[in-house]
């Protein structure tokens, strides 16, 4: 049976991991490649780098990180952040990324999803959706890191990007992100049941039960988390053992 995936996410700024990672005996807590290798050893199913570099002249640094990672870490790598053109997608894939994730640029220019999936294949294109509940039963898509409300319905947008050629959706609840109160299971399930492509749940994980709930209640195909792994609260292996104990198929 296909396993549900656990994906640690690293925020990378100008080549360094921000929100320091707290592993025992890590030589360099800011080195994304070393941290990715640790997560690989723990049994992570994929790694996601979110490049939050603000200055454009430091943008290419992520390419070198991706290259180094591809030489040492032999699990899938997704890279997002600052992807605006098909050329950005190509450069990341050529450096060694397996998938590229796009968010604000996809909303501003939906053709980017269509063009890039036609060029490199749907399997490489992830659309990240930042959703926020705006009224009961209604979630809307926000961009620019959650600052701008597009007033686009999140489920409609998920279906739209699927039709444009996205191969996967990374759904983050802006209400839950950083709260440690668990995923927004309602919108996760809404999106997952509305599309035929895999959905990654993100935003709000504070404990292992939350990860399991994302799969069983949210119907997500994969779960993404950052802080519970970074601060050494749990290892990926512990998370998988817990999910297995709840009857969820995992790779252990």
């Amino acid at each position: 049976m296909l396993a549900k995936r656990i994906i640690p996410c690293l925020d990378v700024k100008a080549g360094r991991v921000v929100k320091g990672v707290n592993f025992v005996s890590l030589r360099d807590a800011g080195d994304p490649v070393e941290i990715a290798r640790r997560y690989d050893e723990q049994g992570a199913d994929e790694i996601t780098f979110l490049d939050i570099t603000a200055s454009s002249d430091e943008r290419d640094i992520i390419l070198h990180i991706v290259e180094a990672c591809a030489e040492q870490v032999f699990i899938p790598l997704t890279v997002g952040g600052g992807v605006r053109r098909v050329e950005d997608v190509r450069r990341l894939l050529n450096a060694g990324a397996d998938k590229v994730s796009m968010n604000t640029a996809a909303v501003q220019n939906p053709d980017l999803v269509a063009e890039s999936s036609a060029k490199v294949g749907s399997q490489c294109i992830v659309v990240a959706i930042d959703a926020k509940q705006t009224s009961p039963g209604k979630w809307e898509v926000f961009t620019h890191g959650g600052r701008n409300n597009t007033h686009i319905d999140a489920i409609d947008w998920a279906k739209k990007v699927e039709s444009l050629g996205a191969g996967e959706i990374l759904l983050t609840s802006m209400d839950r992100d950083g709260t440690k109160n668990g995923f927004d299971l309602q919108i996760t399930r809404g999106v997952s049941e509305a599309v035929r492509i895999p959905v990654i749940a993100s935003g709000g994980v504070g404990n292992l039960q939350h990860l399991a709930d994302g799969v069983t209640e949210g119907r997500a195909d994969a779960v993404l988390a950052a802080s519970i792994f970074h601060y050494g609260e749990y290892t990926v292996k512990q998370a998988k053992e817990f999910m297995r104990s709840r009857g969820i198929e995992v790779r252990l």
Binding site: L2, A3, F74, I75, P76, L93, G96, R196
Partner: protein, 212 residues
């Protein structure tokens, strides 16, 4: 020193495949190449591939690599990965295109009506993630890899060999499908060994020491 050609016909990044082989075989010479002469001269040949089968066949032909790949599949240790497996068959439903016909059989799309999980939920396509591979029988390429080990898949089409005796591995996703084939000097897999952590590296290591 063993030379391995990773055939580059412009479909996707081959860096990961090359780096994974270098990782398991540090003394091998790994060439990512679009040159038919280099493919012809290599001791071992790897044909990866991602994206759509029609694009892959067109690019393979336009790069003048069609004959070199067929010749390699006839003579030397040959590893096909993903579309590099699918193109060995006669025909693909994806874009209704002919393949290289090294194996009789076809490439089919996962049927919508069969995409239902054990709990009744709808299975997503592409089949993306880590799934189990049941080994049909012992093979040098499976050496040291436990039966049922998980590998990383990402695909929407699967191969259906006309001759069951070439099936080297199978996987279940809504339906059972062939995830590895083997015949003489050819071994080809639907999953991505270069992205399949220890199991994938073990398979690539086996390929580098395989002497069929």
């Amino acid at each position: 020193m063993s030379t391995v050609a990773v055939v580059d016909y412009g479909m996707g990044n081959l860096r990961s495949v090359a780096k994974a082989i270098e990782h398991v075989a540090p003394h091998a010479k790994v060439l990512v190449t679009a040159d038919p002469a280099q493919v012809a001269a290599a001791d071992r040949v790897v044909v990866p591939g991602q994206g759509a089968m029609p694009d892959c066949m067109r690019e393979l032909n336009e790069h003048g690599l069609h004959d070199a790949v067929i010749a390699a599949a006839a003579t030397r240790p040959f590893l096909g990965i993903c579309i590099g497996l699918q193109m060995l068959f006669e025909h693909s439903e994806e874009g209704d295109v002919p393949g290289l016909a090294v194996f009789p059989g076809n490439v089919r799309k996962f049927p919508d009506e069969a995409m239902v999980g054990v709990d009744g939920s709808r299975l997503k396509v592409p089949h993306m993630g880590w799934n189990e591979v049941e080994q049909a029988e012992p093979h040098p390429m499976w050496h040291g890899i436990a039966n049922g080990s998980r590998f990383y898949f990402v695909h929407s089409y699967y191969v259906e060999p006309a001759q069951p005796d070439v099936i080297a591995g199978s996987t279940v996703y809504g339906i059972p499908f062939t995830s590895a084939v083997a015949r003489n000097n050819i071994f080809a897999v639907q999953f991505h060994p270069e992205k399949s952590a220890q199991s994938g590296l073990a398979l690539l290591g086996n390929f580098m020491s395989w002497n069929p």
